[in-house]
Symmetry: C2
Subunit: 231 residues, 2 copies
């Protein structure tokens, strides 16, 4: 494994404060895997074999029911996913697939559970991480229930803009169809939402969006610190 990958993984909140021996054991018992885009990593309803860490690429968490499908989250590097299922050995409520060529560290679930029992600091970090996951889910639920599709897009753009360091042009970072599913709308309606935001200082051009009038966009989006700012 590359040294900078290791450092990035070590820097994860999930491992902050854990003993060096705990961390090295977890990583050494795990293994890296490369996947092309479109590979199913996790299926709904199955039990977890590995805790996953996206080191490179992009992973989509999605869910289906009665023939419909939606995207719940996009997992960028460096982040873990399916922690809750691994800890409780519970069936996956979400499926996962690669959207881009991705390198993923897979740590055997049994190792994670053993490490939790052995290292109190790791358990503390896990409590913090689960708290974060829970609160992100609540924020997503509020976003979905309290805002229209165009408002969700506007606020997503504001969050991205900020996360990317307030650039002149921000990168969308995934196909628009994926963004649409993530925001809980159809691709057609995402197009119309982008069109509607032209009147509020947003210009889309392919995979990039230019924010020409931040105040106008914020005026329309009405961002809410409890919804749009992480802890």
């Amino acid at each position: 494994m590359r040294h900078e990958d290791m450092a990035a993984i070590r820097a994860l909140r999930l491992f902050s404060g854990v003993r060096e021996s705990t961390f090295t054991q977890l990583v050494q018992r795990g293994f890296f895997h490369r996947f092309p885009p479109g590979v199913a990593l996790i299926r709904e309803g199955e039990r977890p074999d590995f805790l996953h860490v996206v080191v490179n690429g992009l992973v989509e968490m999605y869910a289906t029911s009665a023939g419909r499908e939606t995207t719940l989250e996009l997992v960028h590097p460096v982040r873990t996913f399916i922690l809750a299922a691994v800890l409780g050995d519970l069936v996956h409520l979400q499926a996962a697939r690669t959207l881009q060529p991705s390198r993923i560290l897979m740590i055997p679930a049994e190792q994670v559970r053993a490490a939790v029992a052995a290292d109190g600091a790791f358990m503390q970090a896990i409590v913090a991480e689960l708290t974060r996951n829970y609160r992100d889910a609540v924020r997503n639920l509020k976003d979905q229930k309290l805002r229209t599709g165009t408002e969700r897009l506007a606020n997503w753009l504001l969050r991205q803009h900020r996360a990317q360091g307030d650039p002149a042009r921000l990168e969308i970072g995934c196909e628009k169809r994926t963004l649409a599913a993530r925001l809980g709308m159809t691709p057609e309606n995402l197009s119309r939402a982008f069109a509607a935001l032209r009147a509020h200082g947003v210009n889309v051009q392919g995979a990039w969006a230019e924010v020409t009038d931040l105040d106008a966009l914020a005026g329309f989006a009405r961002p809410d610190p409890l919804l749009d700012v992480e802890d």
Copy 2:
């Protein structure tokens, strides 16, 4: 405190396996409070003072943004709420108010955090509880994104029917306006959804709903074990 209340609280997943001394200290440092209906217990954006346990009555968790409001959860006895915020000393993402006269045990947040540090079994129980909360939130998000309003109502009825022991008539348990907000729709649309379900074996009469044709209702609702069955 009544003995049966104490027993019910002790039986909470959150306290399963914790040392007797941990439990008694938490409860003794806490205190009971009675509230009439409609009392604001928690405000969004504030920091947690107490971990709450609903021992009696009914509490609504709700959230607002940009002038809109929605219900995220109804907390029935005996259940805790705002655990995640208490553990991390994080601002509340949800507000809480009583819907019925309620008795609530309030445990100082500082006590909870101290107990976590002192009792490993308590921390384990907390990991399990946070996992559950997270997964419930994910289920709610899937419900919201993958189903129409009428389908959410149909599946809610199926879950209630089962939870109440498959009775001939099930109790709705709250005002319809509250149920509407919980299901992410307006009271008007809830009325229409109930009307639509008459064709699928459901008869509403005031605070009760009669399921005359379970198969028909299930055929319409298309319940999903990953969505409608708890772990």
